[in-house]
């Protein structure tokens, strides 16, 4: 910290950013003003500071003028701070001698109609930055070792793909899934658009792979309980929910030879309790001891202890395998990983909230996911689509698109759910294919067929004879006698009201983040957008990362997307998550709090203030002093602001630096 103090020599560089800045701000005037500021030795401007010649200006100026600090007035540190730090370093200065003034995003862009005000504001911003740059010190990043393991939370198609990629890259991967089986939403689907591949057929090989992979440790029926640590060294506690049934590995560990569940199903045959199967949305029965469907991975039964009457018939049926333990309780296990991928997926919006469409009021109004199960060969009806009210085959079916999506009433969701158009087209195709003479009517606002071969699929469905009506459905009413439904809408192309009598209505309901995901999200320190989707580090340039180092996102938890996009993002996240692991160490930005031990009274007040649990009290020279775990410290400054003795030194945000910035602003440049 303490170093030889020489008079600061600052260089200021003002960027035009094409017309982004220069179109609003008088760059020439700003540059001339900067040259008059205290300690500023050189002031320059350039078309694009981030370009190679722009950076050369910085490097040359450092050498020519023996500068001690650099200020670039340009866009935002989120975009180009690394660029200019590198240039500063190449010029022979410590990279942390660089300070940025944001005169684009927070100035010329928002004040484009007030050039004078924007110019004055730019001068203020540069004055403040130069004041700080005069006091900047050399800092040195620390690096921490990275655990050679990763965790993937959520085992839908995204989580499965990410886990396989990590495992194939030689990284030990923990795949955590709250449900009894991997597969997620994709295993509930019948076909996938636009190729009409069977969803299960293309997913099950991957499910089998994660079940077998030597580098993957699968934790199904498990939830994340607690997260501690930081990039490279996360300690994650898992709650293994009481399943009531032991796998063969668990039985072997207990010394039961040839024991554990082999998926024979004798237990379920013996079980007397019948409950609706949530995997089939309650349209099929299951026992209190169950598997979702025949292709589950791992093939281990699960007991629903809320329904189980503990009669013991299943234990009897299981016999020598001794797989069932009716007294099983939740167990906890802590694992250490270097990086984490969240792929927690989505749930359907409670479409009954949109009362005008009559879901849960009228028998023959169903959701698209229910339609998937009804049309699926392995579904509750063996693939024969029937009306719930009377079991008849529907001959006229209306599809309500944007059911709860693109909805600004405050009841639904404002965003587009992105795959409903396409799966509804697929549903229309399946109807016409399976039921000769069946007529689908698609009520749409816009058809968004944005993907590869999607538009062609749209044409195909049109040519097959589906009817398209442009207008969101106003309401659905039931004919009490026949249980048929009247769909009311405005055909906005004809400008006429529509009253259509159909046998069945399918609602393409909006999707929303998985229920109760917020606690998990917060444990990993990931923020969310207004709609609850997890927030990526940058929507375009860092779509898999988050603002928490070492935590990555894949799939719909980050925002609505279809299977190809989910898998692509999962592969991206796996690649990003493997980088620190393969590097073996991560560099941490040196904005740590430092304890000035001679001033520290050991009161411990800072410890309760720290949001990152980075502080602790340690014994030193016979007294208690505060100690910072630098890898955990994010440099937020909460402790430094709070310390009653002024014993905490915030690197890169020291009190003198901040005071100098405030003075520079308030005194308008007067010394």
């Amino acid at each position: 910290m303490a170093e030889e103090k020489k008079q600061p020599r600052i260089g200021v560089f003002v960027c035009h950013c094409g017309t982004n800045i220069a179109g609003t701000i008088d760059v020439e005037a700003v540059k001339e003003y900067a040259a008059t500021l205290p300690n500023v030795i050189v002031a320059d401007d350039y078309q694009y500071m981030c370009s190679t010649p722009g950076q050369a200006k910085i490097i040359d100026a450092i050498k020519d003028h023996d500068l001690t600090g650099i200020v670039v007035a340009a866009c935002t540190p989120r975009l180009h701070e690394p660029t200019f730090r590198t240039a500063t370093k190449e010029g022979g200065l410590n990279p942390f001698r660089f300070e940025m003034a944001n005169i684009r995003d927070q100035n010329s862009w928002v004040h484009m109609h007030d050039p004078e005000g924007a110019t004055a504001k730019a001068k203020d911003a540069i004055r403040i930055a130069a004041a700080k740059a005069s006091l900047l010190e050399d800092l040195y990043p620390k690096s921490v070792p990275v655990e050679h393991a990763a965790m993937v939370v959520g085992a839908g198609v995204g989580g499965i793909q990410a886990a396989l990629d990590l495992a194939n890259a030689g990284i030990k991967t923990y795949l955590v899934e709250k449900n009894p089986t991997v597969g997620g939403r994709m295993s509930q689907l019948d076909k996938t658009f636009p190729t009409l591949d069977c969803s299960q057929c293309i997913l099950t090989p991957k499910m089998v792979d994660v079940g077998r992979h030597p580098n993957i440790e699968l934790h199904t029926y498990t939830e994340v309980e607690e997260v501690d640590g930081y990039i490279g060294n996360f300690d994650i506690t898992l709650r293994k929910k009481a399943r009531g049934v032991m796998s063969q590995d668990e039985a072997a560990a207990k010394g039961i030879v040839g024991g554990g569940c082999n998926g024979c199903g004798d237990c379920a045959a013996a079980c007397p309790v019948i409950k609706p199967n949530p995997f089939e949305f309650g349209m099929a029965p299951r026992k209190a001891i169950y598997i979702y469907h025949p292709q589950v991975v791992p093939l281990v039964y699960t007991i629903d202890f809320d329904a189980c009457v503990k009669c013991g018939l299943c234990v009897e049926a299981c016999g020598e395998k001794k797989a069932i333990d009716l007294e099983m309780t939740d167990t906890f296990e802590t694992v250490k990983v270097g990086t984490v991928i969240l792929s927690t997926g989505y749930d359907m919006f409670e479409i009954e909230k949109k009362r005008e469409w009559g879901y849960k009021q009228f028998d023959n109004v169903i959701t698209s996911l229910e339609f998937e199960r009804l049309i699926c060969a392995s579904g509750p009806t063996g693939g024969h689509l029937i009306r719930p009210s009377d079991g008849e085959t529907p001959m006229k079916v209306a599809f309500v698109l944007c059911a709860g999506s693109r909805d600004n009433t405050g009841v639904g969701k404002p965003y587009c759910s992105r795959f409903c158009c396409m799966y509804s087209l697929k549903h229309a195709h399946q109807l016409m294919e399976k039921i000769p003479g069946c007529q689908p009517y698609i009520f749409y606002m816009d058809i968004r067929s944005f993907g590869k071969m999607y538009e062609e699929f749209y044409y195909r469905i049109q040519n097959e004879g589906a009817k398209f009506i442009r207008g969101r459905v106003a309401n659905v009413l039931e004919d009490a006698e026949t249980k048929n439904l009247h769909v009311y809408a405005e055909d906005t192309l004809l400008g006429r009201p529509v009253d259509l009598e159909v046998d069945m209505v399918v609602l393409a309901a909006a999707i929303q983040p998985t229920e109760n995901i917020d606690p998990v999200r917060k444990m990993f320190g990931v923020s969310c957008s207004q709609d609850g989707w997890m927030l990526e580090a940058h929507p375009k340039l860092n779509p898999c990362g988050t603002t928490t180092a070492g935590v990555f996102l894949a799939g719909v938890c980050q925002g609505p997307k279809d299977i190809p996009d989910t898998v692509a993002q999962a592969e991206g996240a796996a690649s990003a998550a493997s980088i620190p692991i393969h590097t073996g160490k991560v560099e941490l930005e040196p904005y740590f709090a430092q304890c000035l031990e001679e001033k520290c009274a050991g009161c411990g007040m800072c410890i309760s203030q720290c949001p990152y649990s980075a502080l602790s009290l340690v014994e030193k020279d016979g007294r208690q002093v505060m100690h910072v775990t630098e890898a955990k410290c994010k440099g937020c400054g909460t402790c430094g602001g709070f310390c009653p003795g002024g014993a905490i030194y915030m690197q890169h945000f020291t009190t003198p630096q901040i005071v100098a910035q405030i003075d520079a602003f308030l005194l308008g440049g007067e010394e």
């Binding site: 009362r355 005008e356 600004n408 009433t409 405050g410 009413l477």
Partner: protein, 296 residues
């Protein structure tokens, strides 16, 4: 006593004076005093004025609000059309500086200024609000319960929509006016497509009467199917459409419904013991006698 500036509107005093009388007399019995808003003009009608020139709509509505601001009282009113104009203009001018300046420029010519110092309420929502009155208080004020009657409720579009500009959280299947109806002793019946428009608003009645009556007829079919003895609403314009509309439907389509249509104020008046004469029920186009026979 909660005091409000009472914005009358046009249709109630001109065509259904019983509505006005009932509002003033019934509210007194549940702790609400409606003070006359002297000098008030038309609200102005959102469909008619808003469709021609929004600035006129803003300025005229703002003038009515200014009158209540000078009284230092919140506004209470009894018509959904007035509610749309006065409530929405009040909210928009409070939020939008440019709009407010524009309206105030016009108001300055008559030495008035919109300050945004008051709120606007529909009398029905005040009746339902437990902090002001509440269903319990309504029930306690009843001296002649409307037992053995089945009443269908029509909310009216402008009261609840657009949802995001309203305080009501459900515009698709609200039940609170039903609670108010049950409070006066009647049975509130549910009918198909309850939230459909009466057929009048938004200029439809003025523009295309046949179409407008077709919508009204659709509603009457559903209300009749539910076995209602009467229809109640909280909007004199809906009342006009249902009441006189039945006569027009008879003339145009030859269908005779004979369903009495009473504003909720009139129902409450009956339940609080006001006579049909005091409520001017003889001015209704559809004879209320079959309904009155059940309760008197």
């Amino acid at each position: 006593m909660h005091e409000y500036a009472f914005f009358l509107g046009c249709i109630a005093p001109n065509r259904y004076p019983g509505c006005e009388a009932a509002a003033i007399r019934t509210s007194r019995n549940v702790g609400i005093e409606l003070l006359p808003l002297k000098g008030a003009s038309c609200c102005p009608a959102p469909g008619a004025f808003g469709a021609v020139d929004l600035r006129v709509w803003y300025a005229m509505a703002a003038r009515n609000i200014c009158l209540a601001e000078e009284m230092n009282r919140d506004i209470a009113l009894i018509c959904n059309g007035c509610y749309k104009s006065i409530y929405e203009v009040n909210e928009r001018l409070k939020e939008d500086d440019e709009l407010r300046d524009e309206a105030n420029e016009v108001l300055a010519e008559i030495d008035m200024e919109f300050k945004g110092s008051i709120d606007v309420y529909h009398l029905a929502e005040l009746y339902y609000d437990p902090k002001i009155c509440g269903v319990e208080k309504i029930r306690e004020s009843v001296v002649r319960p409307l037992d053995n009657t089945k009443i269908a409720v029509h909310y009216g579009c402008h009261l609840l929509k657009p949802l995001k500009e309203r305080r009501f959280d459900d515009s698709e299947n609200p039940m609170w006016i039903e609670e108010l109806v049950e409070a006066v002793g009647a049975e509130a019946v549910q009918y198909r497509n309850k939230m459909q428009c009466c057929g009048a608003g938004g200029g439809v009645r003025g523009f295309d009467l046949a179409h407008s009556l077709d919508i009204t007829n659709e509603k009457l079919i559903n209300i009749n199917e539910a076995g209602a003895d009467a229809l109640t609403e909280v909007c004199p314009f809906c009342q006009l459409q249902f009441d006189r509309g039945q006569i027009e439907i008879q003339e145009k389509f030859g269908i005779e419904w004979g369903i009495p249509v009473l504003h909720y104020n009139e129902l409450l008046g009956l339940a609080q013991g006001m006579s049909p004469q005091e409520l001017a029920l003889d001015l209704h186009a559809i004879d209320c006698k079959p309904f009155l026979d059940k309760i008197l």
